[in-house]
């Protein structure tokens, strides 16, 4: 009888469960929490209160945060608009530009592996008479710049392409995309959520006009984000999507989440200071994980470009093993799967499918998202555990047995259901 439960030893200094899902969210850095704390209690003023010191104090803290964020991305403080998070930032950017520039055109270009906050926003705009081109990606997850050039027409007002993908960590050639857009006088928005604080991102050098930012992906608090909106060359205008008191230069009304904003600012400051060393550290951890897995397991492969990738991302398919059952075997490790056996549709990740992966391989994928607080010992434990469970599950897998027996799985008439 085969047993799936693993006997892998937990190394000294490792506490279970281990968190390796930093693309979903990241833990709050204690330094960020410390900066936020006073703004919940003693410094509780409304940043819009102009008549007393409580308001001034809050406003000053918000302005410091604006500077910290601007500094990280090469912007000026006035170009930072606070929102509730990246979903709102993406909605505000895309809908706000679509509305503001409607007379100039109705065509928007995006790509198939965007986050749903972009794709679903674009789909909604299609209902209101906008045309949207969804660019395909190549097998490595990158868009083809020639496809982009061909898609542009005289009605194109906006190109929205993410800087780094949340599943496969692939970095799009945003600098070149921005250049193409600027030559044609088209606004370039990027969902910068995953790239912020991980690798250098500069709105001037990277030719970005509008960028979405989220605090909780960079060791800040949940429920707060920002939108960078360029003020010159070109000056970008955005129609407000929430009506109210005209906060944030009229683009986003609503009382500011002062503690959250302070946290976002602090998180950006830390990220800017630590980025270089942290990226090197995460690359080392990620490569260690990959090397260990590759040395012990056959039929595994990396999804998405290895060269153009976030340092902390490893998205791997363990072929002939289903992702969800693999997660079940490593239930003391928090990672994600591109398999969708938990969803009603049973459709695997649309991002992995866009790379041209077969559904079977997509069902077998795991996303490891390494972060600032992961250690080498944790990586060693996770690698050992994954190797152990994959081997056990392959003993259980009819597909692995058939392949080992030399049977071509593509020649079998499967009865899909």
């Amino acid at each position: 009888m085969s047993t799936v439960s693993s006997q892998v030893e937990v190394p000294a200094g490792v506490t279970l469960p281990i968190y390796m899902d930093n693309h979903a969210t990241s833990p709050l850095d204690p330094r960020v929490l410390e900066a936020m704390m006073p703004f919940f209690t003693s410094k509780f003023g409304n940043a819009a209160s102009r008549n007393h010191s409580f308001g001034w104090e809050a406003e000053q803290a918000v302005e410091i945060a604006r500077e910290q964020i601007a500094k990280l991305i090469g912007a000026t403080p006035k170009e930072i608009i606070f929102t509730s998070g990246a979903t709102e930032s993406n909605n505000l950017a895309i809908k706000g530009i679509a509305e503001m520039y409607r007379e100039r055109g109705n065509h928007i270009i995006t790509q198939v592996t965007e986050h749903k906050a972009v794709l679903d926003t674009c789909k909604r705009l299609e209902k209101y008479g906008y045309r949207v081109t969804y660019l395909p990606v190549k097998a490595d997850g990158l868009i083809d710049l020639e496809d982009l050039k061909r898609a542009i027409d005289d009605k194109t007002i906006l190109v929205t392409i993410m800087a780094a993908n949340n599943e496969i960590g692939v970095l799009q050639p945003i600098r070149e995309i921005g250049k193409i857009c600027h030559e044609k006088g088209i606004i370039f928005h990027t969902d910068a959520v995953q790239i912020i604080g991980k690798v250098p991102f500069n709105v001037i050098e990277d030719n970005v006009d509008v960028a979405s930012i989220s605090a909780h992906k960079v060791y800040g608090p949940k429920g707060v984000g920002a939108l960078y909106v360029r003020r010159r060359n070109p000056r970008v205008q955005i129609a407000a999507q929430i009506d109210g008191g005209g906060h944030e230069r009229g683009m986003r009304s609503g009382t500011l989440n002062v503690p959250g904003i302070v946290g976002l600012g602090k998180a950006c400051e830390i990220a800017r200071e630590d980025m270089a060393t942290e990226a090197a550290y995460l690359t080392k951890l990620r490569d260690r994980l990959k090397d260990k897995l590759e040395s012990e397991l056959d039929y595994i492969h990396i999804n998405g470009s290895w060269e153009h990738r976030l340092p902390g991302n490893l998205n791997m398919s363990f072929v002939y093993v289903e992702g969800e059952s693999l997660l079940m075997g490593i239930n003391d490790v928090a990672v994600s799967s591109g398999s969708a056996c938990t969803s009603a549709t049973l459709e695997p990740s649309y991002v992995l499918k866009a790379l041209g992966l077969g559904d079977d391989v997509a069902h077998s994928s795991i996303r490891f998202g390494l972060g600032r607080f992961n250690t080498e010992a944790e990586v060693d434990y996770v690698a050992a555990k994954v190797i152990d469970i994959v081997k056990h599950l392959r003993e259980l897998s009819p597909l692995y047995e058939m392949v080992k027996d030399g049977i071509d799985l593509t020649k079998i008439e499967w009865q899909a259901h």
Binding site: S5, E322, M328, C341, S343, G358, D360, S397, W414, H417
Partner: protein, 140 residues
Amino acid sequence: MAYSDKVVDHYNNPRNVGTLDKASQEVGTGLVGAPECGDVMRLQIKVNPETQVIEEAKFKTFGCGSAIASSSLATEWIKGRTVEDALAIKNTDIVKELSLPPVKIHCSVLAEDAIRAAIGDWKKKNGVPEGEHATVPAAQ
């Protein structure tokens, strides 16, 4: 997803994992599902030609925890039954036993299909017409 203790138990200690000789006259093999759908079950039975009792059952499954548990449970249930009696097992019995959530009912259907496919293969090999009833009393 939170699984029932029974699913976790079958996942951790799958019963009757293995492979029977596909070429044997006494063995029936059922292969159901598809890799693209995220689950493939192979269920095999070894039937006593005299009594038509399933003396051995083996499975291998590519799939989620519920798929593994459903096929593991299926092998336990069919062992010791006659082929006709094994056909009486319904996916709803599996759902109930494993407390599968609605989204996982699919896995139990696959297990029922696997039983039927294995028995169908055995019947075909042995020239037993589909739907013919066993000549010996059910072994329960």
